[in-house]
């Protein structure tokens, strides 16, 4: 018994000497590994709250789509599919570079990490640029819900050169619900991207200083999780908002 305790004590001492404490290691974590795990876990819990947050809007979308389907079809067909598709590709590309950024941090390539973070930022801004152009188009077409919203084109689409089913006046009003959800969901998504881009500037500057090229990748990794989450939200927004009931080519 005494022997085992002594042996255990020796092992413990041995481990004390073996253990290299890195500068980023906080004292309240047993190991580096545990610290990283706790960080990932915390980030995921935050992302789950985000799922519930966006989920509320997705629920509203599903419900109103079910209730006012004809209005949703007519309104959705006014969205710009080429720009939406381009934006999907742009955002996937941005996410791809972010993933490569996490890899660059893990293999401690400082130059590559900075390059990938900058590419992530550029594609993020490109996305917002296309989005701004789409919003401007909505402005011009009076598709922004509220006082200046124009339902006439949905009541009498033929007069406006649209190949849509004409809607009864009460159903035509419901197109505003679609556009409200469009702005709420894409707007909240865009806000998340703006926050992400602000964080990217800060992370790029820190990466340039060399903060993430010595094995300390947690901030890059957790920001990556956030960025990919925003990506996933868009992967659902695109088909649900833009591709409800397109007419066969």
């Amino acid at each position: 018994m005494a022997n085992t305790i002594a042996a255990h004590h020796d092992a413990e001492l041995h481990e004390e000497h073996e253990h290299v404490v890195l500068p980023q290691h906080r004292h309240h974590f047993e190991t580096e590994e545990q610290q990283r795990e706790a960080g990932s876990f915390g980030m995921w819990l935050f992302l789950l709250t985000e799922i519930m947050f966006f989920g509320g809007m997705f629920f509203a979308y599903l419900l109103y789509r079910n209730w006012y389907y004809p209005a949703f079809v007519a309104a959705s067909n006014q969205l710009n599919v080429p720009e939406g598709t381009a934006n999907t590709v742009i955002l996937i590309t941005s996410g791809f570079f972010m993933a490569l950024g996490v890899w660059a941090a893990e293999v401690r390539k400082k130059g590559l990490l900075v390059v990938f973070l900058i590419l992530t930022t550029i594609f993020g801004f490109a996305f917002l640029g296309v989005k701004a152009d789409e919003y401007h188009e909505k402005w011009e077409k009076h598709h922004i819900p509220g006082a200046s919203f124009d339902v006439k084109e949905f009541i009498n689409p033929a007069a406006y050169g649209l190949h849509e089913e004409p809607l009864a006046p009460d159903m035509a009003q419901k197109t505003q619900v679609f556009f409200f959800l469009y702005f709420a969901m894409t707007g909240m998504h865009a806000l998340h991207m703006i926050i992400g881009l602000a964080l990217l500037f800060w992370l790029t500057w820190r990466a340039h200083k060399g903060d993430f090229s010595s094995g300390y990748v947690a901030p890059i990794e957790n920001f990556g999780l956030y960025w990919h989450f925003v990506d996933i939200v868009w992967l659902f927004l695109f088909p649900l908002l833009y591709l409800i009931n397109r007419h066969p080519l």
Binding site: E30, Q34, L63, W103, E106, F236
Partner: protein, 111 residues
């Protein structure tokens, strides 16, 4: 380093070494996501009746799972993280399904 090292305190027994996903894997994932985007647009212009939204959501879910597993490294994370992610999505699905059952059936029999 904590003063009291407890050898029994193993938080993460299966997570021996941190897995680094290679750029090659990321390229495959990127390609898969681009193909998924093209397919979802083409599928939207085909008239499949009730299948259209199902196909659209199916492709979107597939792409999301790919992103979660590879870009977000969940495939290589500990069971704790996998369970956390799974539980979150499961809870969300339950909330949406139950709420939709309620709302969508409210006016049944009234028309």
């Amino acid at each position: 380093m904590s003063e009291y090292h407890d050898a029994m305190n193993v938080t993460n027994p299966e997570h021996a070494e941190h897995h680094i996903v290679s750029p090659r894997e990321y390229c495959f994932v990127y390609g898969a996501l681009l193909i998924g985007t093209i397919v979802t647009v083409l599928a939207a212009y085909k008239d499949m009746g009730v299948l259209n939204p199902i196909v659209a959501l199916g492709i979107a879910c597939t792409k999301a799972v790919i992103v979660i597993l590879f870009f977000m490294h969940v495939k290589y994370q500990s069971r704790l993280i996998k369970m956390t992610v799974g539980a979150g999505f499961f809870t969300f699905i339950v909330l949406v399904m139950m709420s939709l059952c309620d709302y969508m059936s409210r006016a049944w029999g009234l028309w």
